[in-house]
């Protein structure tokens, strides 16, 4: 359940954030101008940034997947060609070691003509195929580990749902044969993973010649290889062959249905000496790197470039101004080149100047905003007083703090319209539901014709709530209307009815002569008809008079605030507050109110006039007065209009969860550097008893290094009236992008609480190791819980119609709320020389591969030396997959673990999978300086022999930036407990433990040895020495020369020899 919630978290967040946060961007576009003013003045006008962001939102509404992770498309498949829209062209640049650069180009979708027989039977069962050509042997000059988790060479990875061994073997054979016949590349199996659930993941690798790179590159990126498609790919192609030290490129094709695919293509390059250093300043210029201005692809819906500094710096200058929020603080600079048909930067170049920051005494503001309210005030007085406590726990003044609450449609309806047409009893009016009275009419025409009929039945009546006397009521039980008509009541009748009868009926009665009525049947019939009509008019008039006298229309939910401004916009409605300055260690409280919120104390009476029949099937009128409260009435209104009453939450259909993420705020320090944050979410609900959690996450430390222990405090307070149950808390480290949308998140720690009672406050104190996202390092707690635990949907009754309605949202619901967001500044760790180092994954492992060959016995000894050269310990799993053929040559293996001059022998374990043998050499924690030495001895090897790579899976303590090839979401390991080469960050189960937190599984590979030796002798043939060409040439030459000399001598001496 909780996993499902977390999975949806980012998507939900995105859905709302896209439209909501843009408003912030508009505000920031002109700091001196209020948001409302800006929008009114120039919604699409002179402010370029505002226009840009507004455009972005509209485009996002039209092409939402463009901004999301999942991109489902329905391409046209014809033969080997895919025609997908080119959704995105994305260039990423990361500054690496020693002024090196890693840059990558990603294309999502687009036209694709790679010669894969996608419509063949063998390929139809393949869910996904990745092809990547990689050479990262010199990665240590650029980065601390391989940017892509592939071994060098041509990598082919397929994911199929097949689990049948023979079919998988057939697929593997087909793939190997296909690449051999098509590209003349001999693939061998690198790794295999089986899972009944996920299918089978097969990884192949083969050696390729440098000369064929061009062929692959052009084929994969066709048709974007010409200048007419912009020049970004061409620039990458040029760099790859001209300057790159390491490179990788390939595509990932995933089948979403029989004819639908998603496609990602990517090329990455590593280049040295791309940052110019002048004094203490570092200068990066895109034109120095690409040697040209970048022109986006004409076909791309969006073209985007980002530059990332994976360490804390002081940015002195950046041009053009990035379009993302907090660029200088986060070290991430983002620019759009093209959106739809709009060219933002038709010819793009950027320059960045920075100095390395190593000052731990940083001065900056740090705001936290806690949203809460007074439950008793709401219950007793019907006033929802929502307070925002803004506290600056930093050491510098916060400038221009803008707090924005993007309000839901339901809340917007409440603010704008209240609850419509709700009649309220006037002051001092109460209800006595016990009063009942029946009013009947008696007509006696001379004793010949006598009639009795019921005129009106009354159930319940109004009283003066102070004196308890009936209001507008006659106690008379017998009223002579004239000589032959009387009215009788059991307990009196409404005085207003009596008055209306006098007005409407008496004049009419006076018009008739009783004698004539007695004698004339026709006249009598007319008389009774008109009498009935006049009595009806009297009753109706009396009802209206009574209603008007006793009731008044009441307006609920009156919004009021001196601090917040309600701002409706075409793209969403907001409550916005602004604080010009907030000093360090100061707190400001802002609030907004909803007045006249109905409470259970508010009485409500329904006054209903209805027609009923008695036992004689005679029709008469009934006045029914019932008493209830406005609280129930409100529930009924919500039920009948299918509203939730949770006006601060969003309902997510996919997860059936109410989500609330609070308010966003942005502020600046005195240098203009941007900061941002989130207040806590609040699952407020009207008209229902609910567990309502207010959560505050705080962090003691403000500036820290990777590896530092951080002290957190999470306070959870149940403001509601019943207990919160099944409380699951997940502490997350999140990275937000320029739209304040989480682009990455890591679950660091989880807690489970069975219950938080109403009014109970719980504080959780815990420590975490700082490990991710240098610079602004943000943490947040996500709390999921069940409110109204065990309750069924509330049955509400409309007091006017007595109709019953189930209010499903009044029963048990699941909620997800966020805590306040807190952050510190995370500094990079120091290396062994005490200097700051880039924040790349630690530990770092180096795999050295050496081999010896003994010709006489055709024995090959391969030695792998795996050393942890990083800064922390890691759990390492080292294994290798061997084919049936390879295992037949393997004579024996040995594995040693060495640390601090002590050597321990490790016994490898062996397992069979699909006819392949997997040798698990070690599964051991390796501290810095520790190393594993693995020796494999092969005997009688053939002349052409491939030694497969050792796969090294280890826990990396943190990972700053995702550089790897596109992900495979693969969780299946039932046939294997080996870590699979996972290429993305996937949330762990909620059962994550303290010891396992903060880790990523990273995969590295040893070199693959492609060996070629002299051919082995066939057993029935003799073994003889080989002969180099020099010997026969020498012999022939000497003999030729000698013969010539002899002939010459014989000629000269004219002597026959």
């Amino acid at each position: 359940m909780f996993e499902k919630i977390r999975t949806q978290f980012l998507n939900i967040f995105r859905k709302e954030s896209l439209s909501k946060y843009v408003y912030i961007g508009k505000y920031r576009g002109n700091k001196k101008m209020g948001s409302l003013q800006l929008l009114k003045k120039s919604p699409l006008g002179t402010n370029t940034r505002g226009f840009f962001l507004l455009s972005l939102v509209f485009i996002s509404l039209l092409t939402h997947p463009f901004f999301g992770n999942a991109t489902l498309v329905s391409p046209h498949l014809s033969s080997n060609t895919l025609n997908l829209p080119l959704e995105e062209e994305k260039v990423d640049i990361i500054v690496g070691k020693n002024n090196a650069i890693i840059t990558s180009l990603s294309l999502t979708g687009g036209e694709f003509r790679f010669s894969l027989p996608l419509d063949t039977q063998q390929f139809r069962v393949i869910q996904r195929i990745d092809v990547a050509l990689v050479n990262q042997s010199k990665y240590d000059k650029i980065w601390t580990n391989r940017p892509w988790q592939f071994p060098d060479g041509l990598n082919v990875r397929i994911l199929t749902r097949e689990n049948d061994i023979e079919k998988i073997k057939s697929i593997a054979k087909y793939v190997i044969n296909y690449f051999y016949t098509t590209y003349n590349v001999s693939l061998s199996l690198l790794n295999i993973h089986l899972s009944p659930k996920e299918g089978t993941l097969l990884s192949f690798v083969g050696d390729i010649a440098y000369s064929v790179l061009h062929t692959f590159l052009d084929e994969i990126f066709y048709p974007y290889t010409s200048d007419s498609s912009g020049n970004i790919f061409l620039s990458f192609e040029d760099l790859l062959f001209r300057e790159s030290i390491i490179y990788g490129f390939g595509f990932s094709l995933m089948r979403t249905s029989s004819t639908s695919f998603t496609l990602n293509r990517k090329v990455f390059l590593g280049l040295t000496n791309q940052i110019e250093k002048k004094g203490e300043y570092y200068i990066f210029n895109t034109t120095s790197l690409f040697k040209t201005y970048l022109r986006p692809n004409l076909d791309a819906i969006g073209s985007h470039l980002s530059l990332v500094l994976p360490f804390v710096v002081n940015v002195s200058f950046v041009y053009p101004e990035p379009q993302n929020v907090a660029a200088k603080a986060t070290g991430t600079f983002e620019w759009w080149l093209k959106i739809g048909n709009l060219y933002v930067n038709e010819q793009f170049a950027a320059i960045l100047v920075y100095t390395i920051s190593s000052n731990h005494s940083l001065v900056f503001p740090r705001l936290s905003v806690t949203t809460s309210y007074a439950e008793q005030e709401l219950i007793n007085d019907g006033i929802l007083n929502m307070t925002y406590q803004i506290h600056n726990s930093g050491n510098a003044k916060a400038i221009n703090t803008t707090l924005v609450f993007p309000i839901s449609n339901e809340f917007n309806d409440i603010i704008e319209h209240g609850v419509p047409n709700v009649p309220a009893l006037k002051n001092n009016v109460g209800i006595d539901e016990n009063l009942s009275s029946v009013i009947s009419i008696h007509i006696d025409l001379g004793g010949v014709y006598v009639y009795d009929f019921t005129l009106l039945e009354i159930e319940g009546w109004y009283i003066n709530s102070t004196t308890s006397e009936f209001l507008r009521w006659n106690n008379a039980t017998h009223i002579e209307l004239n000589d032959y008509i009387s009215a009788y009541s059991t307990n009196g009748l409404p005085s207003d009815l009596y008055q209306q009868v006098l007005i409407n009926v008496i004049p009419y009665l006076n018009e008739y002569d009783p004698l004539q009525l007695l004698l004339d049947d026709q006249l009598r019939l007319q008389f009774f008809t008109q009498l009935g009509e006049n009595l009806t008019v009297s009753i109706q008039n009396a009802y209206q008079i009574l209603y008007n006298a006793l009731y008044t229309n009441k307006t609920f939910f009156q919004f009021q605030s001196d601090d917040f401004t309600y701002i409706p916009t075409p793209i969403g409605n907001f409550l916005v507050a602004f604080i010009p300055e907030l000093d360090a260690n100061k707190t400001v409280t802002l609030n907004w109110e909803l007045n006249n919120v109905p409470t259970t104390y508010d009485r409500f009476g329904a006054f209903v006039m209805e027609t009923v029949k008695n036992t004689n099937d005679e029709t008469y009128v009934k006045f029914r007065t019932t008493q209830t409260n406005y609280y129930d009435l409100m529930a009924n209104i919500f039920a009948e209009t299918n509203k939730t009453g949770k006006f601060m939450s969003y309902y997510d259909n996919q997860t059936d969860i109410f989500v609330s993420f609070g308010s966003r705020f942005v502020y600046f320090d005195e240098t203009g550097r941007e900061y941002f944050g989130l207040s806590n979410g609040l699952n407020m609900q009207f008209a229902d008893d609910e567990a309502i959690l207010v959560s505050t996450l705080s962090l003691n430390e403000t500036v820290y290094e990777v590896g530092s222990l951080l002290n957190f405090h999470l306070t959870l307070c149940n403001y509601g009236s019943i207990a919160a149950r099944n409380v699951e808390i997940s502490i997350m480290n999140i990275k937000l992008n320029y739209m304040w949308t989480p682009v990455d998140s890591i679950v660091l720690k989880t807690f489970y609480l069975n219950e938080i009672a109403a009014g109970e406050s719980i504080t959780l104190n815990f420590t975490l190791k700082a490990n991710s996202y240098l610079g602004l390092n943000a943490y947040i707690a996500l709390i999921s819980f069940t409110s109204d635990y065990g309750q069924y949907p509330t049955v509400t009754v409309n007091p006017w119609t007595e109709k019953e309605t189930f209010w499903i949202y009044g029963g048990e619901t699941s909620n997800l709320v966020s805590s306040t967001l807190t952050f510190g500044i995370l500094m990079p760790p120091k290396n062994l020389l005490g200097q700051p180092r880039p924040s790349f994954p630690v530990p770092e492992f180096v795999v050295n591969t050496t081999f010896s060959y003994y010709e006489n016995t055709r024995t090959l000894v391969v030695t792998y030396n795996i050393t942890n050269v990083g800064l922390s310990s890691s759990m390492v799993t080292s294994y290798k997959t061997l084919s049936e053929t390879a295992i037949s040559y393997l004579d024996h293996t040995t594995c040693y673990y060495s640390y601090n001059n002590s050597i321990e022998t490790i016994t490898p374990t062996i397992r069979e999978t699909l006819g392949y043998t997997q040798i698990i050499y070690a599964n051991i924690s390796v501290p810095p300086g520790g190393n594993l030495i693995i020796e494999e001895t092969y005997h009688n090897i053939p002349s052409s022999f491939v030694v497969n790579a050792i796969i090294l899976a280890y826990d990396s303590e943190y990972q700053l930036y995702q550089t790897d090839f596109d992900k495979i979401s693969y969780n299946g390991e039932s046939a294997s407990d080996l870590p699979i080469p996972r290429l993305d960050l996937i949330y762990n189960d909620s059962t994550i433990t303290e010891s396992k937190q903060n880790t990523f599984t990273w995969t590295d590979y040893s070199s693959i040895l492609y060996l070629s030796f002299p051919k082995p002798p066939l057993s029935w043939l003799p073994q003889i020495s080989s002969l180099s060409i020099y010997y026969p040439m020498l012999t022939s030459g000497v003999f030729t020369a000698l013969l010539l000399v002899v002939l010459l001598v014989t000629k000269m001496k004219k002597q026959r020899f």
Binding site: S1026, L1027, P1032, S1036, V1038, L1043, V1046
Partner: protein, 278 residues
């Protein structure tokens, strides 16, 4: 000087085209009657007798009055065919004689004169070579001694190498120079050539590692010098055997030996690198 006088008569006999044709005709036929000569040349009988008389010692008649070429006539025939058998003119003294003796000319002449009588001795020597190669585990791939494992392949290589060299020599000399004679003598001569190679194998056995180094100059110097010497010596023996047994001039014998050497060296390179590797 009588030999000089004989030569004068020969040149005189061969000065006429008709007489040269007569020599060729008789040489081609081997033995021929006067009637056949008359039919072939279609001239007056008196004229024909004149030319036959002028040929003098170049021809002779058997008891049936059939004409045949004398030894001198054969030489004349060879002279006419521009294939003079110079062996008869080899100097028996001085430096050339030294080299011819070094190259075992007397032995080859012995084989050439009578190939049957020394055959047993030759076979005995060859069997000895086979046994030696077995124990040395070294056999020749033509001109290149090599370690051979298993050892029983060594004599097989020796036999195969000898036979191939013989067949190539015989075919080459037959088709290029029309020499058909002396087959058995040539076989014995080639068997004789294996002797120095086997002797060198002994040195190779003690002085070499198990294989040829990639570059010849990486061999020990003495072994390298010996290796070159033995090979040249073997090729010299081959040339000498062609000259003596096939009655070829040194130029032609050398040319044939050179051609065969190229071929053998190529074959050796292919075979040793196909089977080689230890």
């Amino acid at each position: 000087m009588p030999r000089r006088s004989d030569d004068t008569n020969i040149w005189k006999a061969l000065a006429n085209q008709v007489r040269r044709d007569l020599i060729v005709f008789i040489g081609e036929k081997g033995i021929v009657s006067f009637t056949e000569i008359r039919d072939r040349f279609n001239m007056k009988v008196g004229t024909l007798y004149h030319h036959l008389d002028t040929l003098g010692e170049l021809i002779s008649q058997d008891q049936n009055k059939y004409y045949y070429l004398t030894e001198r006539g054969k030489r004349a025939y060879a002279l006419i065919e521009d294939e003079i058998d110079v062996s008869a003119h080899v100097s028996r003294t001085g430096v050339p004689a030294f080299f011819h003796n070094l190259l075992l000319r007397p032995l080859f002449e012995f084989f050439s004169m009578d190939a049957i009588r020394p055959l047993g001795f030759s076979l005995l020597i060859f069997v000895g070579l086979c046994i030696a190669s077995y124990y040395l585990t070294i056999g020749p791939v033509f001109l290149f001694p090599t370690f051979i494992d298993p050892s029983y392949f060594a004599p097989l290589f020796l036999i195969a190498s000898t036979l191939i060299l013989y067949i190539l020599s015989d075919l080459t000399l037959r088709f290029i120079f029309g020499r058909k004679q002396g087959k058995l003598a040539l076989l014995q001569g080639i068997m004789l050539i294996q002797v120095p190679l086997t002797l060198f194998s002994l040195a190779f056995y003690y002085g070499s590692s198990s294989s040829y180094p990639v570059y010849p100059w990486e061999m020990e110097v003495w072994l390298f010098v010996l290796f070159i010497f033995v090979q040249i010596y073997c090729l010299g023996l081959l040339v000498e055997s062609y000259m003596v047994i096939k009655e070829l001039r040194v130029e032609k014998a050398g040319f044939a030996a050179l051609l065969i050497t190229y071929l053998l060296n190529f074959l050796a390179f292919v075979i040793m690198n196909y089977f080689g590797g230890t």
